[in-house]
């Protein structure tokens, strides 16, 4: 069954003992798993979905090394500390794990004198708080026009921050998890925590796949962080789910913007973003709306607001160039403070239970914040003895489309499946897809996030029949069992003619 990795249990409903249980395989859970795998600690990570990073992480705008905006990132918020401390850690981490990372810098647009005054203050604060990092620079109107010719003319200039970069947060989560696994972490996908009971020196965690006994828990369940905490009365915090929307532009117009471009929000906490991605698309947004969690539908109102945002920054964008959009949740710690505050703390009531949630920008904050979680675990009594055998580096799946001609030649010579292009929009080969499946992709989306097959302008119209066939072949399952994203999300419900023969099984 393509339903994730059940190997740890062998059979269902077995009992498993572990020292630290990490709940959640988003960027925060996988970062802690990887950090913890440096030590001689028996660690298990459970993730409800059949793959990593499918919660808020996959909805991210992919911008990292933020924090230069010291009007939003202020000293009094702990969140800022993690974001600032992560700035120098992010690039080495991505390089170590062979995850795309591109430093592109950000431009905060100055639209009037009022904003100019604010930005002067921001620059002063940044110089004070981040003295060791490359400073901001003023960009005049003409220079701005030269470096970003498609931007609105309605600006005085911009404040340039050289630090911000883009990465691929889902790939980073996968790489962190793969590296943790290689260093001994037990990883269980498709495993949802349903209840937790507390013994004297351990927790009994009931999951959909069996019982897990653990001494420590790191609760990195993202959008459900408070629900998990409530299972053991460790919910001494409130979170507000705020739905956030992002639009995606075709690669064809991928050079319309070259930096992360932001504008001063009209309300504090509002997020106004346009940025290229490491894969050459443009992301834009981010309309926000307090919402009941679990509803990932994008609404007409949000897409209209998103489009209005990008139009105000980049007037020549056409609605025709939008190839996709998606929504995710940013968990506010405190509704008044918005995303600025986070939950990174040992429960005050329940020993050995760490709550770990960063609504925004959790990807940017992950490297330093996960180190903080290790400190919290050890102050709760976890022994952290370093392993000598820790292997820090990881290797990405070869990226055929980005390879040079020479590298392409070599890949095809080694394995002729690299000469078979399956996804034409993103130029993804069968070789890459097979490698992704070998490394743990079990679904269409799993293949998509690892290789980009189906992410291009035709959104899988061409390649989905081919990817489904390869998945079925490699996983050795009937093609009707292939799912989009695990569980009941089967792609094909019947065989042709099956309905005519009368022998119809209801879809599971």
């Amino acid at each position: 069954m393509p339903e994730g990795d059940h190997s740890a249990f062998g059979e269902l409903n077995m009992k498993l003992d572990t020292e630290v249980l990490i709940i959640g395989g988003g960027i925060l859970g996988t970062s802690v798993a990887r950090e913890l795998s440096r030590y001689r600690v028996d660690t298990t990570l459970v993730e409800r979905e059949v793959d990593f990073g499918w919660g808020s992480t996959k909805a991210s705008a992919t911008v990292v090394c933020q924090g230069g905006d010291c009007l939003e990132f202020r000293k009094e918020y702990r969140n800022s500390r993690f974001v600032w401390d992560s700035i120098p850690l992010m690039e080495p981490l991505c390089r170590e794990l062979d995850v795309p990372f591109k430093r592109i810098g950000s431009l905060s647009l100055i639209r009037n004198n009022n904003e100019l005054v604010k930005y002067q203050k921001m620059k002063n604060l940044a110089d004070k708080y981040l003295p060791d990092l490359e400073p901001h620079q003023w960009i005049d109107r003409d220079t701005l026009r030269r470096i970003e010719p498609h931007l609105t003319r309605d600006v005085i200039g911009a404040l340039y921050d050289p630090k911000p970069a883009v990465t691929d947060p889902v790939r980073l989560s996968i790489a962190l998890a793969e590296n943790a696994r290689e260093n001994g972490t037990n990883i269980m996908l498709g495993t949802e925590v349903v209840s937790i009971s507390r013994g004297t020196d351990s927790f009994e965690v009931q999951t959909t796949e069996g019982l897990i006994r653990t001494r420590f828990i790191v609760n990195a369940a993202g959008v459900y962080v408070d629900k998990i905490a409530a299972m053991v009365d460790a919910d001494e915090f409130v979170v507000y789910p705020v739905k956030a929307w992002i639009g995606v532009l075709d690669k064809k117009v991928g050079d319309i913007i070259r930096h992360v471009v932001t504008a001063r929000p009209s309300r504090p906490g509002e997020l106004i973003f346009v940025n290229p991605t490491v894969h050459g698309n443009i992301f834009f947004g981010i309309p926000l709306q307090l919402n009941k969690r679990g509803d990932y539908s994008s609404t007409r109102r949000m897409s209209q607001a998103g489009f209005a945002t990008i139009r105000s920054l980049v007037p020549d964008v056409s609605e025709k160039d939008i190839i996709n959009s998606f929504a995710g949740y940013i968990m506010y710690r405190n509704y008044e403070l918005g995303w600025h505050e986070c939950v990174v703390a040992a429960s005050r009531k329940i020993p050995r239970f760490i709550n770990f949630c960063i609504g925004f920008p959790g990807v940017s904050a992950a490297p330093a914040a996960s180190k903080e979680v290790i400190r919290l675990l050890s102050s709760e009594g976890l022994q952290t003895v370093e392993k000598e055998s820790f292997k820090a580096s990881g290797r990405a799946i070869p990226d055929f489309s980005e390879a040079s001609d020479e590298e392409k030649k070599k890949l095809i010579q080694k394995d002729s499946r690299y000469g078979h292009v399956v996804c034409r929009c993103e130029t993804v080969t069968e070789g890459e897809i097979v490698e992704a499946i070998k490394r743990g992709a079990t679904t269409m989306d799993g293949v998509k996030y690892r290789t980009r097959a189906g992410m291009g302008r035709c959104q899988g119209g061409f390649c989905s029949p081919r990817v489904a066939r390869i998945l079925a072949r490699e996983l050795n399952v009937p093609e009707e069992q292939v799912t989009k994203k695990g569980k009941t999300s089967r792609l094909l419900l019947y065989k042709s003619k099956e309905l005519l023969e009368g022998a119809v099984n209801e879809p599971a």
Binding site: H420, P465, L492, K495
Partner: protein, 419 residues
């Protein structure tokens, strides 16, 4: 055949590619190849198991695979060399092709001329920005067609189809024949997007409900589609409050338009017409890059394969002439301009010395009109619709009437009696 001795390379082996290659060979080009990324020649024709192909070209009513077969035989008989499972990744402005294949591996070569025949792709959900969740069970009509007719799987049993393009209507019939229930075909415009013959034979004959001036305003279901919300739209295509209704279904098919597939053309520096989405071409089907020609759906979306074939034969012939040393002046001549109620005209320019067929589409449906080509020719039509391509044949005799110094001719769609 040595890769470095190729005269004409055709990219794509659908009806356009095969017609171009065969005609290139017939015109006298020695070494003609077709690059095709699939395992066999024929392109999308293989999944079009319905009939209606070749009525004009062969004067027979063939299915897609039969039409493909005829041309595969012609291609082989003509001595065209197919390069299968070979994908062109890049074409440089001086016509160097970079391609990969799992047989021939990594290739770089420079043919004397190139014909672009990559066809088109379907518009996807993202491009429409349909609100709602992102479950499994949303397919473009063509992808569903492939699943059913080629791969042997039925996506679901209760289906709503958004858009009344030809593939959507043909799939409505196919799904019904397969035992699925098509709950509705939903079209945002006040008229059907595809051919009238498909509306009659695929929808009316099977009692499939058609909702004109309606759209899908929401998709339900976390993992698999569970239903859609449909609403009527006003004249500006905005949903009208109070008209919404929910329809339960496990599958949503999209048949909302085709887009010429020109990413490869762009790598060569070929200029595209924002209206057609395809290259600007002259009467010889030469693009703005000398030696690169184009034909079929890569130039503009056709509704009949016969026209694709004819148009691509022109491209194939010109490519052969170019390969044999004839210099076809790059994109010169008389400009054709889309006038009243004309969305576009292909080709974009003509030489004025040769017989030529003009293909065009109107913007809005109209009745009792006359299509005027400047004041040298015209054609009356009872009904014109954006979904039906119009064709006007001009002889060199007629073109002579234009006079020597004319640089532009306007094509208008005029109401009867009007100028």
């Amino acid at each position: 055949m040595n890769l470095h001795e190729i005269d004409v390379a055709v990219i794509g082996s659908g009806p356009a590619g095969m017609a171009a290659a065969v005609r290139a060979k017939e015109t006298g080009a020695k070494n003609v190849v077709i690059l095709e990324r699939a395992e066999e020649l024929g392109g999308l024709l293989h999944q079009c198991v319905h009939n209606g192909f070749g009525l004009f070209y062969f004067h027979e009513d063939l299915t897609g695979p039969e039409y493909a077969h005829r041309f595969i035989e012609k291609t082989m008989d003509a001595g065209v060399r197919p390069m299968l499972e070979t994908m062109a990744l890049n074409i440089s402005p001086d016509r160097e092709i970079t391609a990969v294949s799992n047989k021939n591996q990594f290739l770089k070569f420079r043919p004397e001329s190139i014909v672009l025949a990559m066809g088109c792709r379907e518009r996807s959900r993202g491009a429409l920005n349909i609100p709602g969740t992102r479950p499994a069970g949303v397919f473009t009509a063509g992808t569903a067609q492939r699943f059913i007719n080629v791969e042997g799987f039925l996506p679901g049993r209760q289906v709503v189809i958004l858009g009344s393009g030809d593939i959507g209507m043909i799939m409505a019939r196919r799904l019904t024949l397969e035992g699925a229930r098509v709950e509705a075909v939903v079209e945002v415009l006040p008229y059907v997007g595809g051919l009238i013959r498909n509306e009659v034979q695929c929808l009316h004959d099977f009692d499939i409900p058609l909702f004109l001036k309606h759209t899908v305003t929401n998709i339900y279901g976390e993992r698999r589609v569970e239903g859609v919300r449909v609403a009527e739209v006003d004249s500006r295509m905005n949903p009208i409050g109070g008209t919404e209704r929910d329809i339960a279904c496990d599958t949503l098919l999209l048949s909302v338009g085709l887009i010429p597939e020109n990413e490869l053309s762009l790598t060569a520096g070929v200029e595209l017409d924002p209206v057609t989405g395809g290259p600007f071409v002259d009467g010889a089907r030469q693009t703005t890059v000398p030696g690169i020609f184009a034909g079929g759906n890569v130039v503009h979306v056709h509704d009949l394969v016969d026209n694709v074939t004819w148009e691509s034969e022109i491209a194939g012939e010109s490519a052969a002439r170019f390969a044999m040393g004839e210099r076809i002046p790059a994109w010169a001549g008389i400009k054709l301009k889309a006038g009243r109620n004309i969305r576009y005209v292909v080709p974009h320019t003509i030489s004025g010395n040769e017989d030529v067929t003009l293909y065009m589409r109107v913007r809005e449906p109209e009745q009792n009109v006359r299509i005027n080509v400047g004041d040298i020719a015209g054609k009356s039509e009872l009904i014109v619709k954006p979904s039906s391509m119009l064709k006007i044949e001009l002889t060199s005799e007629q073109l002579k009437k234009l006079g020597k110094n004319v640089t532009e001719v306007v094509i208008d769609c005029q109401k009867w009696g009007g100028k």
